[in-house]
Amino acid sequence: MSALAQPPRPHQETRGPLARWFVAVAILALGIQFFRIQILKHSTYALRSDDNRIRELRVEPARGTLYDRTGRVVAENVPGYAIVVLPLSADSLRVALEHLGAILGHPREKTERLYSAYRQHPNLPVVVENNATFAEVSAVEERRAYLPGGIVIEAAPKRHYPWGATLAHVVGYVGEISEADLALPQFEGYEPGRIVGQTGIERAYDRVLAGSPGKRYVEVNALGRLVGDFRGHEKVAPVPGSDLHLNIDLALQMKAAELFPDTLAGAFVALEPKSGSVLVLYSAPEFDPNAFVGGIDPTVWNELSNSPGRPLFNRAVSAAYAPGSTFKLVLAALAINDGYAGVDTRMPIPCRGALLYYGRVFKDWTPIGHGALDLNGAIRESCDVYFYQLGLKVGLERILTGVRDFGFGRKTGIDLQSDIAGVFPPSSAWYDERYGASGWTNSVVLNLAIGQGENAQSVLKMAQFYAALAADGVLPRPRLVKEATLAEPAERLPLADEQLAALRAALVEVVNAPSGTARASRLARWTLAGKTGTAQNPHGEDHAWFIGFAPAEEPAIVAAVVLEGGGSGSAAAAPLAAQLIEYYLASQSGLKGSELAAGG
């Protein structure tokens, strides 16, 4: 008890201040640090706190609906689900993707592809499946307890094409944006995982149809599991895409599909001559665009892409065919315009079934020959020998440059990205380059003159030219979408009205005169004008062409059809175009099929 009530010892006195200093320094250090972190660096840390736990999710906008010209829906949205993984660490994401891949039955490559896409954009949510079925969503939800965090299921509108294959090449289809597309200026500002148009209208008008995605914010915990909506940031509502109305006449399109022989490949196009409105744009064989929505099954894809018919290829717009005799009108127009011929001009050598040119025999399509014909008659009977001579008369150089005034050598200007310019040599230098200066002769002009040789045009291009013949010489820009506005004024053919009328008269005779090549296809109620074509096909049967318009007096429709390996234009192609035109004109004037028959 000796220590009890001892007075403070001297050395203890000095220790009091020491201890106080020590405590003061400790508190000061803490105070400075708290001030530094909480006040000076507050904004930095507040941001990092947000980064920690707030994830931005895209809210898919509803894509614009597509209607045909009569207001029928041709592309719409139906409810669907997307399975999304929030940004996680690379390892956690891999685990999540592998689990999901197993549940959804994804092939290994898809998982790898998603993983590598994530590595390029590590801060964006990964869209694992943007078209999940209810069964798939249920399967994921059932296993959620065992799955890693960060898996979110979202309502995502899904594209549906009610008319399926019939409009496949017009409307196209949508799918997840590819890495290659992301780099295109057209898709500037798009994020990976976005659904974009892959072909057709869906692609050409993606900016209009897509709308802009909204944003919502969710809070996650350290494991990436969703805690709930984050209310701190305002949601951004998605802006739905705009609806578009097509010029396509769905009934007519279906008629074209019905008329087209099931066994053949080819294309069917119909335009309104003055406006360029595309009424029909049909390519055979077709495919079901719905198969592509949400990612196509690899076996279906292989089937489609390896099929010899190449159903994904848009033959109406992107295929270049030798135009055959349908091109004779281009040469005729050029010759008339340049003054080399009038409709009554005869050629020096009458047709005896072939023309001998520098020791080479150039055959007519009929060995009997057509005898002596003027231009009008040569068009009517499609006399090759006449056009060989006309071609020689106009000359190669003039033909090569002149056709450009009639719209050739460039794209049609249709509102589809698969538009092509066709093949037509720009100058004789082109031949030098290709065959060597001595590797070709002037005889190429004979082939060009009858739509063969180095001459390949799309069905749409030919339809465009005939539309100009039908409608006052104005080359219409083909338009699939009503809302599409034209920046530049339409071009005119360099033909006077009477010259156009003369050419139209010749085309009327093709169908209606006793010796016309398409006489079998004349219509009872309306005057059909047109031109047949039978293009030689080095790979097999001839391609059958017919391009026609009616009524000849006041053309309301131009139809062009090509049947690959279809044989003769007059037998195979002309009846199809005639029936399509008749169907259209009948429906326009309110006639029914029975009345049509009675009238005939």
């Binding site: 050395h11 220790r15 803490l30 708290f34 909480q38 840390y45 507040a46 736990r53 996650v220 915990n221």
Partner: protein, 382 residues
């Protein structure tokens, strides 16, 4: 034994008058304030954790509240028990603590001393207790008792500090075997403060400290996580996803609090970003939710607690009371300072709790017991 009986009677408690009584009242008020802040913080910090484990959101709050109740009863009782009894109980208490620590490290006792997260720190005997928390209090009592008994001799190395060193080493060794390095180090620091107050020479501490360096170094190297923590402390950016993660997340919590805080219950860091946040990083949540205003309030309360505690010490009726009050005050204040230092990255990441506030029954009850003893010392007239 008669003395012992006498000290246990309530009559032995003589209420102090005037300022001493006010000091005790302040200490009690601050303690109650801390306990309430602790309950609020534990609820905010743990409700998400509880729910994610499928428990009701108030699960951890109720646990903490029931222990706070037990602790306040202990405080009330100890405030009425003459503190001088601990001079005699020092050695028995030390023996009891050593025995409990021994149970933790012995093989074959896993039934009552299971391993959790790779450490055996808890005894499960009906209630779960953490002997190393109790060891803090007991070692302070023992150090104060011994220093008071040795008087001037604490200034000699052989008769003073060496004896402390031997006992401390034995206890620290057991605690480090759990392993719980930070508790062992904190106990050493608290004992050193008591001895320093008693008059031990600074030179001796430096000498002992130098002797401890190789032992500590060996120990730190033996476990990679300790090395990682140390390296991360010295170089915070070195490992942002691993050990640095806690510190990084703690700084984000503190920093995003700003001046006024994000608001109670609005902590974003509680969604598992900050592991162990309801105990080792409890203060980070306070800093985040209440901002600098809340931090300053807590620090001021802590400073007031220290000030009052030391005043009680100065007015203690004897050297033992003086030393004991200093040690107990240090236990609370130093623990809180270290906890805050860790939160701010000023000290390496250790598992030191903020007394009264951090989740954990043993820490809470022991801290309240310490305040009880402190109040009793304050109740005596000098």
């Amino acid at each position: 034994m008669r003395d012992l009986a006498a000290t246990l009677t309530v009559e032995a408690y003589v209420p102090a008058a005037g300022s001493a009584r006010r000091d005790a009242g302040m200490v009690l008020a601050i303690t109650v304030f801390f306990v309430l802040v602790g309950l609020l913080t534990v609820y905010s910090a743990s409700s998400f954790l509880a729910q994610s484990k499928g428990l009701p959101d108030h699960y951890f709050l109720r646990q903490q509240a029931s222990r706070a109740l037990v602790g306040l009863v202990v405080l009330y009782v100890l405030a009425r028990v003459d503190y001088r009894i601990y001079r005699r109980l020092a050695w028995p208490l030390l023996g009891l603590t050593a025995a409990a620590l021994l149970v933790l490290v012995l093989p074959g006792t896993e039934a009552i001393a299971p391993s959790r997260n790779g450490a055996r720190r808890w005894l499960e005997i009906g209630v779960t207790v953490q002997p190393s928390e109790a060891a803090k209090l007991v070692m302070i009592i023992w150090a104060a008792a011994l220093a008071a008994k040795k008087g001037e001799r604490v200034r000699s190395l052989r008769w003073g500090l060496a004896a402390f060193g031997v006992v401390y080493m034995a206890i620290a060794f057991l605690i480090m075997l759990e392993p719980d390095l930070s508790s062992a180090a904190l106990i050493g620091l608290l004992c050193a403060i008591v001895l320093f107050t008693a008059g031990a020479r600074i030179g001796h501490f430096i000498l002992l400290g130098l002797l401890a360096v190789p032992i500590l170094w060996e120990y730190v190297q033996a476990a990679s996580y300790r090395m990682n923590r140390l390296v991360t402390f010295l170089n915070p950016g070195s490992d942002p996803t691993g050990v640095g993660h806690q510190l990084k997340q703690s700084l984000i919590a503190v920093g995003s609090g700003g001046l006024f805080g994000v608001g109670y219950g609005e902590s974003a860091q509680k969604y598992d970003f900050l592991p162990e946040l309801h105990n080792d990083f409890a203060f980070a949540i306070i800093a985040e939710e209440w901002g600098l205003i809340g931090v300053v309030t807590v620090v001021l309360a802590l400073a007031a607690f220290g000030f009052m505690g030391l005043r009680i010490a100065r007015r203690a009726p004897d050297a033992f009371g003086f030393l004991l009050a200093v040690g107990l005050t240090a236990q609370i204040v130093i623990g809180a300072l270290i906890h805050m230092g860790v939160t701010l990255g000023l000290l390496p990441t250790t598992g030191i709790t903020f007394p009264f506030i951090s989740f954990g029954g043993s820490s809470l009850v022991v801290s309240l017991a310490a305040v009880g003893i402190l109040l009793n010392i304050g109740s005596w007239r000098a």
